[in-house]
């Protein structure tokens, strides 16, 4: 894949932007309709199958959720949330995988040039060849998605099946989804469909139904239809995900200020040297100094 398929790349700045997309392709979006999901885990298994991932066989952890957490060997995880509201039982399932943010915090935080890229179709992908394992993406992700591999120390996460999407296929999870809770298509189509579905849900009595497409990260490449958009926490989702303040300060303030500071210091030093010159001690007997080197060494050895 050439650089021309990349929109954003870590380690670049406005001064030196990544090569701009020449191959204009439609932005693709995965839609997760939580109101149609029954938590069967097909997406989770299909993801592992396609991407050749095999997490260790764990143990029962008090829930249907297995493995217990995402890992470098588990990029998609079905999370289970059960609760009672107004005496009515709710069992909600969250398709947990990379959200493919439009403004990805992981990419912003990445310490390595080109280790995280945003492809022209909008998916955010990690290049494990370049990844150094610093873990900045792990702590920066507002959705807590990337994980470091215990063996190769590189960060991994859902690639939106970049190997499939680049040749025009849907991701493995979407293909396998039984109830139609996962869909894949151009961003335009998915938003259109989501709009219809939300309207349908409202008619069915879910007054708070809505689309989870958080603005804090510029919108996401995986959008979610929720029963109650005011309570994304009930799905284990952050209410207002965004690139955090420290990451922003780090990137937008400390880096430029640091650069200025360093350059300024160097400039002043050089100017000072040029204008003032060296500060030379006029020895009582300048000649004596010339000998002092060898002598000093000797004296120290005594």
């Amino acid at each position: 894949m050439s650089a021309q398929d990349i929109i954003l790349s870590s380690g670049t700045s406005e001064l030196t932007p990544a090569a701009q997309v020449r191959r204009k392709v439609a932005k693709m979006t995965k839609l997760f309709d939580a109101t149609k999901c029954n938590g069967c885990k097909a997406c989770q298994v299909a993801c592992s199958e396609w991407n050749d991932l095999r997490a260790p066989i764990g143990e029962f952890s008090g829930s249907y959720q297995n493995p217990a957490d995402l890992s470098s060997e588990c990029w998609t995880l079905m999370k289970f949330h059960e609760f009672k509201k107004n005496d009515k039982m709710h069992w909600q399932f969250t398709h947990t995988a990379c959200m493919h943010c439009d403004d990805p915090a992981c990419l912003t935080a990445c310490s390595t040039k080109g280790a995280i890229v945003q492809r022209s179709n909008g998916t955010v992908d990690f290049d494990s060849d370049k990844c150094t394992g610093c873990g900045y993406c792990v702590s920066a992700c507002p959705f807590n998605i990337p994980r470091l591999d215990p063996i190769d120390q590189k960060a991994y996460k859902c690639t939106m099946c970049a190997d499939r999407t680049q040749i025009g296929l849907e991701p493995a999870c979407v293909k396998t989804c039984i109830t139609g809770a996962l869909r894949f298509g151009t961003r335009e189509d998915m938003l259109f469909y989501a709009d219809l579905r939300v309207k349908q849900l409202k008619e069915k009595g879910y007054a708070n139904a809505g689309l989870y497409n958080p603005e804090g990260v510029g919108g996401t490449g995986m959008v979610m239809i929720l029963h109650d958009i005011n309570q994304p926490e009930s799905y284990g989702l952050p209410a207002d995900p965004k690139t955090s303040l420290p990451v922003k300060l780090w990137q937008d303030v400390v880096k430029p200020l640091g650069a200025v500071g360093i350059i300024a210091t160097a400039a002043v030093a050089i100017a000072h040297r040029i204008t003032v010159g060296r500060n030379i001690v006029e020895e009582d007997e300048p000649a004596a100094y010339d000998h002092s080197h060898d002598d000093n060494q000797k004296s120290d050895k005594e």
Partner: protein, 193 residues
């Protein structure tokens, strides 16, 4: 240019090359997605072996069908043409490749001799002969040819058979013929539970 300048220039050049060698040179490759793994793999249509929805499968195997390649299945996904599943598969179906390639597949005919604590590998012919011998001895001794009323009944009750409900019909029919020809009555499938 005097000699001094020449040396300076050389030094600069060397430094620049060194820096370039340290990684300043352009031309590094951008992130490329993993190569699509099914290119040219052999595709075979099948149906899921688990529940009775009968989902269509596409199985992908290594190797051409050429005479020197041993095919092995490395990926299974839903058949989008099959109207019942239209490409979708449940978690069991989506993980079928690990079922086909399970480390717990039986490989050879084996026998466990009475009272022992181990499997012994045997040949197919030995297996056939020993099983047929057991059957014949038992059948010859215990086949009931007529009942008390004198009706021909020809039933063999001292051997039974639990039959598979995952094998194809054709295997099922062979099984049925096998059972009834020998006089087995006590045959059953897991259909009951």
């Amino acid at each position: 240019m005097d000699r001094r300048q020449f040396f300076k220039l050389c030094a600069c050049g060397a430094t620049t090359s060194a820096i370039a060698a340290l990684g300043m040179m352009p031309g590094e490759a951008m992130a490329a997605p993993r190569e699509y793994k099914l290119l040219r793999a052999k595709e075979t249509r099948n149906n899921c072996c688990y529940c009775s929805v009968g989902c269509g499968l596409l199985m992908y195997s290594h190797g051409t069908v050429g005479k020197n390649s041993e095919q092995s299945i490395f990926h299974i996904e839903g058949d989008v043409d099959n109207p019942v599943n239209r490409g979708a598969l449940c978690p069991k179906g989506a993980g079928l490749v690990d079922y086909v390639n399970s480390p717990n597949r039986n490989q050879y005919p084996e026998v466990r001799e009475p009272g022992t604590n181990e499997w012994k590998r045997i040949s197919w012919q030995e297996a056939y002969s020993r099983i047929a011998r057991h059957m014949k001895d038992d059948r010859d001794a215990n086949l009931i040819e007529t009942n008390e009323a004198g009706t021909t009944v020809n039933r063999w009750l001292t051997t039974g058979m639990m039959t598979s409900s995952a094998q194809p019909n054709e295997g099922g029919f062979i099984t049925h013929k096998f059972a009834r020809a020998t006089g087995l009555v006590a045959i059953d499938t897991i259909a009951r539970n």
